[in-house]
Symmetry: C2
Amino acid sequence: MAQDKKKVEQITDMEVDFAKWYTDVCTKAELIDYTSVKGMFILRPYGYAIWENIQQELDSRLKATGHENVSLPMLIPESLLQKEKDHVEGFAPECAWVTCGGSEALEERLCVRPTSETLFCEHYAHIIHSWRDLPKLYNQWCSVLRWEKTTRPFLRHREFLWQEGHTMHATAEEAMEETVRMLEIYADVVENVLAMPVVRGRKTDKEKFSGAECTYTIECMMHDRKALQNGTSHYFGDGFARAFDITFTDQNNRQAYPFQTSWGITTRTIGGIIMTHGDNSGLILPPRIAPVQVVVLPIASHKEGVVEAAQAVEGTLRAAGIRTKCDLSDNSPGWKFAEHEMKGVPLRLELGPRDIEAGRCVLARRDTGEKITTPLTEVVETVKGLLDDIHHSMYARAKRNLEENTYACRTLAEVKEKMEAQGGFAKTMWCGDEACEVRMKEEAGVSSRCIPFAQEDLGDVCAVCGKHAEQMIYWGVAY
Amino acid sequence: MAQDKKKVEQITDMEVDFAKWYTDVCTKAELIDYTSVKGMFILRPYGYAIWENIQQELDSRLKATGHENVSLPMLIPESLLQKEKDHVEGFAPECAWVTCGGSEALEERLCVRPTSETLFCEHYAHIIHSWRDLPKLYNQWCSVLRWEKTTRPFLRHREFLWQEGHTMHATAEEAMEETVRMLEIYADVVENVLAMPVVRGRKTDKEKFSGAECTYTIECMMHDRKALQNGTSHYFGDGFARAFDITFTDQNNRQAYPFQTSWGITTRTIGGIIMTHGDNSGLILPPRIAPVQVVVLPIASHKEGVVEAAQAVEGTLRAAGIRTKCDLSDNSPGWKFAEHEMKGVPLRLELGPRDIEAGRCVLARRDTGEKITTPLTEVVETVKGLLDDIHHSMYARAKRNLEENTYACRTLAEVKEKMEAQGGFAKTMWCGDEACEVRMKEEAGVSSRCIPFAQEDLGDVCAVCGKHAEQMIYWGVAY
């Protein structure tokens, strides 16, 4: 018991030290463990179950839109990685290299994939010949390596789990449509499953993916008002196709290069869930991906019939497709409350002798603490309704945080002042010049988050240089 | 079209060259593609979909028996790998080593995991303290690297996909029970889902897993009468726990070492499916994991109402949970027949104008070629019944191959003679001496497959040395 108690020791208050609060939650909620290799983490069963649920939601949407899963090797020959110049420049500095296989030094060193555009292109060159072979809509679930200097649970691993979609199309228009379609699928999952509102937009050239013509992004705001990039979708034009000599015979019998996209979402999304929804008692999980949606706690479980009644409710909820767990451990009720709060279980169902006699149970919401009494005969409908309501409340709360901390600024000085006071997203007009973007970073300490699809008219003057500007951009401090 | 036709070009007859037939099927059925790294293969959508279906069948069984999925890093520090002496001796010769991260040489080189016992042990040392923490029943779906010299699609990759279960238990008995339980789960999936009969047994000390006290195996017989090891389960005792200093306080408040198991099944199983069931027209897929169970082919599809009727049948079958695809491509019927035969689709449903008029359709079995006419009103029941029947017929056919090519021998000379004439499995008594096992290998060219759980009384004399023998063993030529 003494051992177990550790788990529910007080965690750092988020107001005192948000970063410490965050890592406390990652470890105390048993999402993660550290390893002897810096920046490589273990996803423990509870953390991995969250990822499995996100996978399931996304994978079904990918399949419904015609995408097929494949598996490509994890190693890339250096010469293959070097075929597209911008791409290799972006990734080479953070590659991990295999130089020895068995007892022999390799003739050519192999990079552990940081991303797989080059491998997909090699494969596409083998299998794309005719317009009949297009589009190719492939996706891969795997892990990738990026040898980062600073690492942090979920947010920045040297190895992280993700999916990477790679598609090829007969026309630029089709590829561009795919790029936007996939961003919308990410936005759908993040908003409607994970209860995190997003800002959809395009990255600046400075911030786009190495080798892409353009990158779309969904940006989220965390509880501490910092930004989290949460899913990106890239349009490549035919740049890689030319570099890898991928051609097809079009319907007019002419040789042409296909147009390409790629898009990915990673386990850092779980970090986003923690920092969007959590509180000083720990995690608060969005009901639609919570590994346990309802924890059933028998009260005074030594009394006759209590355990049986609790198990019966568990069975009823499970049969209705609700992920339910009955906690029959010999821990004290107070300890159990704290543990399931720490783990962010959306609903706690309490059932004691008097409840059983009265044919009712008590449901406690993790997000608001509110308690609802419901007849046992209506428990399935009540729980379903509450899980939906919790989702919407969590989304609304996060949306308020986003809206209340997004503000228009006219000048760099104003961005700097408000950012220091409030954090969040500053929106300004921007001339499109990278020099202004760099200056904003240097002087106000913020990076460009995106040029949002939903443009607003904030005038026609760049907040940095004062020259003519036609687009609105978001700035923020990002994870 | 000319391009497409290649797919259904005649493949090599299996009687002429079984190895060539096998690789022809792997590529022509679009299961696999080669890459520029020797021994690393691409699982194409059709090949990967088979693996996803196997995963789903196995994963649900693992969860039903209390196992939890986790994700551990892919890199192992050399010092960690070296902690268990037998283990490192077995794996070091086929490790791939990362020696450089970013632009810097690493202080300690990191092995790309060939298997993850050492990583699990490092983690278990962090999280196992009390008898309350046991058992730990963890599983991981991932890929591993083994730097093999000779490689072959599915059967021997330098990188392959698998699951690896790693469990810790309070007692040796519990761990041993788990070892056997997991072998039985593999046998259940392989026999009842993949329609491949298995021989369950124990590996000899010579053939067991590096670091294990004992290894259980399921052995299958391929169409060419060679053996395929298809899933293994290992009991480690407390050897790794001692090496990694994993201890727990037992219920009597004493410090103790936990007992460990691991078990895995890999994508080589797909190679086994091909070589067990395939024929000279290509793949024959077991219905329970076939990505497409029924392909609907409209005949004379230019005639009014044919396409609509075909799509209606597709919809009916899909609604009943049957994986169905309607082929509306403009390829000729003959070409379509050949393609879906190559891909091993269990049932072909043909529907032409006269069928529609008569309210019927024709179902052709991939395994036997038999054609069945059924009223459209009964198509769901007929298809379900046929898919089940195909499973059982395929199992029975493979079982006959196994039984007809398994025979008892009294002497090494007899093993040699019969093995040269017939191949298959020779069963003999064996004294247990490794010298006899080595001599059998050298003189008869066969390795020990397993000491089967189902022992038979073939006398009490070792077939090699003639000394006293108490156990029966299987010999064969293995992939």
